[in-house]
Structure formats: structure tokens, C-alpha cells
Assembly symmetry: C2
Homo-oligomer: 272 residues x 2
Amino acid sequence: MILDGKLVVKGIREKLKKDVLGNKITLAIVVVGENSSSASYIKGVMKTSEKLGINIKLVKTDENVSTEEMIEKINELNIDDSVNGIMIQMPLPKTIDQVKVINSIDYLKDVDGLTDISMGKLVKNTGDGFLPCTPLAVLKTIEYYDIEIEGMDVVVIGRSNIVGKPIASILTNKGATVTVCHSKTKDLKEKTKNADMVIVAIGRKHFLTEDMVNEDAVVIDVGINVVDGKLYGDVDYDNLINKVKAITPVPGGIGTITNTLLLKNTVDSYLK
Amino acid sequence: MILDGKLVVKGIREKLKKDVLGNKITLAIVVVGENSSSASYIKGVMKTSEKLGINIKLVKTDENVSTEEMIEKINELNIDDSVNGIMIQMPLPKTIDQVKVINSIDYLKDVDGLTDISMGKLVKNTGDGFLPCTPLAVLKTIEYYDIEIEGMDVVVIGRSNIVGKPIASILTNKGATVTVCHSKTKDLKEKTKNADMVIVAIGRKHFLTEDMVNEDAVVIDVGINVVDGKLYGDVDYDNLINKVKAITPVPGGIGTITNTLLLKNTVDSYLK
């Protein structure tokens, strides 16, 4: 079975359109420098927001902006009642303290789920923070296809702060037994072969091969690798598709869902 | 081998005494109601602090204190430069919003590591937050006995916000491959039997039995179970001690170390 990101997105957007109807909801996107607002992710967010009827407030700053000036701008957005979510276009110039700037976002508007406090709330499962969009996309895909998470043995490959760690915590909180694997893991193949679900998020083209999974496995590919202008996942899709129980494609899988979830978080922020 | 908490403590205290010498370092302990300051954990902290030359500022509040009044007190301590660490005696009366009160502690003084922001920093491994004392006690024990964490297969039983989740994150960040098990986990025994290290933190007397571990395992017992006035761990110590490679006793293991680490965090806060 192919876990189709486009179908997952469709379901989320239909629900979102109803929530947005008649409401003025705004996502602020902070971009540094002239060219950064033309980046493809931003473009995708703007296109989706237009379809859904959500406003984008583009906050442009000069290339030479200081950390303090950035934080000042964020603080203005934090207290601006007309702004429901704040997103910062990454990466910031090296002259800026990126961690400090991100953590200045009020967690109630941190729709990208990137602040330390949002991470803490995610791990503790407090329910009042926003989940970062890529881990949330994995969760939404699993839920859309009615895959029972509780009791499942899940192997997550990759321990990044943006994907591996949060997805592991989310699934642990949902009752899965999660093993986080990474570059220091021994006998990786043995672990993935025994897993009911394998989630790969390391950024290496076709890292997960056919011999590493069992036939009942659900495989989630979070990888985005551009090689010679072509997009590849972390999973050797062509060779796994006929073996495993279910798999997400790249493109057309997890990456398809993320910008819609950024807007879903913004709508949820408004509704709160 | 017995992993002796008293030896671990001794090493930490010797170092601490040197750091404290000639400095005025203060831990504020907030207690609600008259009797709570006589609780055994507080007593232990006060005894240790006296030995080390660290001041305790006991902040007593009325039994009927409100959430807002508690937060006001915390805010006073947050801005008081003579206070290096803040600890709140738990549990708070049910009339108080415990989560809100805890999260009002400035993370720079959150020496108990209980705020959402401290948890986020722990998971992200930012290095500028404090680790909660029980997970930190596990780490210090492993390090004291020169057990190589990197590459180790670790099973953590228990997914609490205070122990299971943070210890899993800490060890993942140190390069271990960690599996978090809990009540929904299937084939637990198979998982623990294959693990290089098993950490148990669920609060059930002698839950981990001889048949669940292999002979090369390191076993860490975080359990504190009082049955008929006697203290028991989560591990069937008497039957494991002659089988496994290394094990922490209860009493005399992890629990012995925690209050010293609360004071270590306070000293580290001062030194920063």
C-alpha cells in the first residue's frame, strides 16, 4: 500500500477550509534579505494559504539585521493580536544568533514548533504546544491510514531535533515502543528488520534497503535529497514497494503535507 | 559489580566543596504549609547543603496560598540575585495549578529541571539548561564507573516525564541506542534480554526479574517502593546480583545521589 501524502493533505485541507470560513487568520513569516522570500518552501506556504483563505503577513528585514532587532520584531508580532502564528525563514545569516531568535517566539504562536518550550511540551505531552510540522506530518499520515500506533515496535533512524527526536517522543506518547537509531547504533539492520514501523530521517539517498525490513513493515520516508536536480527519499522505494506492507513515496509523501500543517497550526492557534 | 551510590556521591561532593569554598551560594526551597518542610527529601537536602556550605532559603507559604501568589513568590526569587536555584516541594495542594507554578521558574534557576523549557533544552542538548536530578544521577553513576555509553543498546522501562523520558533523551544524546518501554510494550522480556543496559523506573517492587536480563547487562534501578515500611527497588536485586555484570542497589544506589545533584546544579548556576 502506498501512503499517499496528497490524500492526507486533502482531508486536512477540507477540514481547515471550514474552520477558516468567515475568520481572519494570519501567519507572519519573517524573512531576512530580499531573495529569501522567494525560497520554495515559503512559496509553497503562500500558495496553500491563498487556497485556504489564510492571510500571510510578510515581515521583511534587511540583510544586516542584528539579533536584537530580530528579537524586537518577533516581540512586536508576539503581542500583535492580529497575528496567530509566527514562522521564521531558515537558515538565518550566520551573524544572527538563530537559537536566541527562535526562542523569542511566544510558544502560543510557535506554529513551527521550534522553540525549546514547544519541544518540552511535546515531550511531556502537555497538549498546549504546537508540534513541529514534519513530525506532525508523520503522525497525520499514520492516523489517516488508521494504523494502530499503540503497542507497535517503531524504529526511528535519525536523532535530529527537528525530526527524529520529536517523532520518537510523539509516538512514545501514543503508546508505541520506540527505538531511536543513529550513526552510533550497532546492528542497525537487526533492529529495523524486527520493527513494525521504520521511520527514516537522516538525509541519505536510498539508505534503507530491501534487506533491512520485514514484509509486514510500515515504512515512512522523511528524507529529501536532491541529487543531480532530482528528488530522492532516504528509502530505496522502488525495491521496497513490492515487499513491505505500506510505504510513503518521495515525492508525494511526508514532504507534501508539511506546509498545510503549518497553516493548520496557525488556525488552531486562532481557534484557541 | 555493585554500582555504589555512596561512592558516586563522595566524588561529586569533594569536587563541590572546592567550588563552594569562599562563595555564598543559595538554594531557595518553596514549601506550602507547616508540615511540608519536615518531609524527608527536604530534610536530606538541608543536611547535605549544611555539609557542603550551601545556604538554604526556606520560603514558607500558607496552606491556602493561591496559584497567583505562588507565582508572585517565584518571580521574586527569579529576580533575586542572591538566589541561585529554586526548588518547589511537591506535591502542591490540589487547589494550586502545579504546572503553571513550576513553569514560572526561570530556567536559569530551575535546578530541579522540571520546567517545560528545561525539558526542551535537555532533549535538544543545548547545554544551557539543568538536567533533573534523578536522570542526572543515572548519568553520573554510569560515568563514575567508566561505562562507555556510546553505541550501547539501552532499554528504559517507564516513560514518565520525571525519569523515563529525560534519561532516554540524555543517553540518546550521548550516543546510546535507546528503546523506551512501558505498559503498552509487547515482548518486553525479549527486549530487555537483548539490552546492554536496562534502566527501570516504573515503581513496582522487583518488577525486573532474573530471566529478563542477560549476563553482560548493566542494570540501573530507579525504583523507590515502600512496602510494609521497607524500601524496595524495581529490580529483584538478590537474584540479579550474581548474574549480571553490574547493578545499582536500593537503598544505596540512584536515590542516594539525587539531593547532592540538586545542590550541584545550584552551584553550577552560581558559577555561570
